[in-house]
């Protein structure tokens, strides 16, 4: 079989995964998209392993590794999503922005600056 088929398939899978990660709103679907990307890589590994006729089958071995790691990762990820859902009542990834640095907090931080300016005027 020509190498192009599995590689193109892997690229399509990876692209679908990227799209899913960047555009899906549900956290579970984002995790699934991550799985798609991982599996696209796995497919590449296997395809190149066969194409290169590697005597040690390093590609296949690595694929097994990746599958294991992905299983662990998805378990951890789903647990986090579950906790998020329990805490917030939603698994919407657009709403989970608590770690952001919104512009409204500027007003609070500017207050000490103003006080310093006042002090400078009083000293003058």
């Amino acid at each position: 079989m020509h190498l192009a088929y599995p590689v193109v398939l892997a690229a399509l899978l990876f692209s679908v995964g990227v799209y899913g990660v960047l555009a899906r709103r549900n956290a579970v679907l984002v995790l699934m998209s991550v799985e798609l990307m991982l599996n696209a890589v796995n497919l590449n590994l296997v395809a190149f392993d066969a194409w290169l006729r590697d005597s040690l089958h390093a590609g296949q071995a690595l694929t097994l590794f990746t599958i294991t790691v992905a299983a662990a990762e998805i378990g951890l990820g789903l647990a986090i999503v579950l906790l998020l859902f329990r805490a917030r009542g939603t698994a919407d990834i657009d709403r989970a922005t608590a770690l952001g640095d919104p512009a409204e907090s500027l007003a609070v931080e500017e207050a000490p600056n103003g006080a310093e300016e006042l002090k400078g005027q009083a000293a003058a």
Partner: protein
Amino acid sequence: MNLALPALVPALPALGAAATLATGKKAPGLARPLAIVPVAVSAVLALVVALQLGTGQTLDVATRLTPTGGPDISLGFYLDGYSSLISVLVGLVATCVQVYSTAYLKQDPRYPSYAALVSLFTAAMLLVVYSGDLIVLLVGWEVMGVCSYFLIGHHWETEDARSASLKAFLVTKLGDVPFLFGIFLLGADAGSFRITDVLAAATEGRLGHPTLIALLLLGGVAGKSAQFPLHTWLPDAMAGPTPVSALIHAATMVAAGIYLVSRLLPVFLLSGAALIVLAVMAAVTMIGSALCALAQDDLKRVLAYSTVGQLGYMAGALASGDREASVFHLVSHGAFKALLFLAAGVVIHAAHTNSISAMSRMPGLRKRVPDAYWTMGIALVALIGLPPFSGFFSKEAVLTAAEHAANGEALTNGLGPASAVPEAAGWVVLISAALTALLTAAYATRLFLVAFHSPAGAAAAAPQVLPAVDGATVVADHEAGAPYSPELDEADPATAEPPAMRWPLWVLAVPTMAFGVTSLRTDWLPALLDGGSLRPSGVTAVTGTTLAVVGMLAAYGAWRSATARLGAGRPAPAAAGRVPEQAGAPAVEVIVADPGRTLLGPLFGPARHGFGVDRLYHVLFVRPVVAAARLVRFLDREVIETYVRGSGVGANLLGRAVRLAQTGNAQTYLSALLAAVVLLTVLVAV
């Protein structure tokens, strides 16, 4: 001669000052002996040195202090008759002042530092007098300036004292800058800073720029000796304690400039232009200050302007090429002006005011301070220059010197050719000195009559001692709008004349009365100096005395007519408008029989304010400096600080922009990451 003796003369007061400063707080009881003893011992030693040196001798020893690459700086003495005479004067006046201060500043909490500064000042003056090296002399000169600054500002609680001390410091330093350059130029031209070498170079004509040197040195002399363009600090310096005025602003520090010129007179004789400048400076100073003195209301300011005028006499004698007459007048003036100030201090303590118009309303003032009354009278007569008091002889010596210079036969006593002194300088000095003699007599008479002999005081004749007036009344008491240098004063009027304040007066009264006689024979005082005659000559003596008598009579006549008008209930027309209108002040009509008002007429107002020189300087110098300071503040606050603040604001804005990217949405971050990876890949690949 044992060199330890002259070394101890300036060293002892300096050590005394250090000891007083060190122990002043811990052992206040030691302050008085530590103040008096070193100064007194140093005065005695100065006398011993003078006696050992004898007449017609000079002592010139020096040791190299430090090599400079140029002319070396040496530590040494240059003693001759001039330094002997002046060091004895300094010692005498300083001792009197220290004794007097123990009583005058009895209740002052800062007495120890005051006494230490007076001692240090005495040491500096003696250093100036004894030093044989111009740079070491400059050290003493500047130490005096600093001591003067501290002592004028002794009562730093008052605004007047603070501003007066700053003014004195700045104005004298303004003169000291050209002075410093003059010394450098002199040292460079002569190849040495030692006075003997400089004088030798001047005699041999080795000085390249005598006119420039002389004019630069005159800057410092004008500052220190309060001559015309830089005289304004001296009247204001009266905000200091009165003994300080007696020591510094009458007898010693202001004399330093005159002393320096007399030391370096051969240099000045090389330049006719410098002598003419000096003569004009002296003439303007003399006449202007005498007119101002005639219009002052503050007792100490009258004396201050009088000091300025008498220093003008000395400068005039120097411009006429006769340093003998100048130093003679310096010493006799030092004695009687110190006496005048000390007596004025007693009177001010007793009257609780500086204002002579306020004193004129006090009944029986002269009976409460008899010693001050009599010694002040003696000193004023000496100031006027009536025979046989010392002022007569010294003033005649100045007039004689000016007369000879005007005739082209200046009494240079071998320091230079008589033709070195331009005749114009002699004429300027002669005419202005004669006019000033008249004015001096008038203001001295006015001072004495208004302060002590006012009809108000005599008519009231109240037997009881004047009730102690509180400070507020005293302040409101002096004439409105008159310049006034009040002094913090805690003394009890009942004890106005303690012995420590009375005896220095009589000690100083002796030279005031008798010192002039020493000039009668050439083997007395003149032998100590240059050997020329100081005997009064016929024409000038008669003219001078006549002018003085005319001045006294004019002042007396004006005073009588003013008194008569006042007695008749019709106040002098000029005085009618001078009822003070301050809100809340007691309705005391400040109408005093003031002969100065009658004599000066329309000049009275300007003269009272020093002919607006202060105001002119305010417009010319103070305001531009303040404006420049404001500009600097503006540049600092608004321009430089804008950059500093701008960097902060810029960083803040940048931070705000970066913050916009921090939305918290992981997908946005990932999109940016992906875009960046794609971009980098494309860039690397292409």
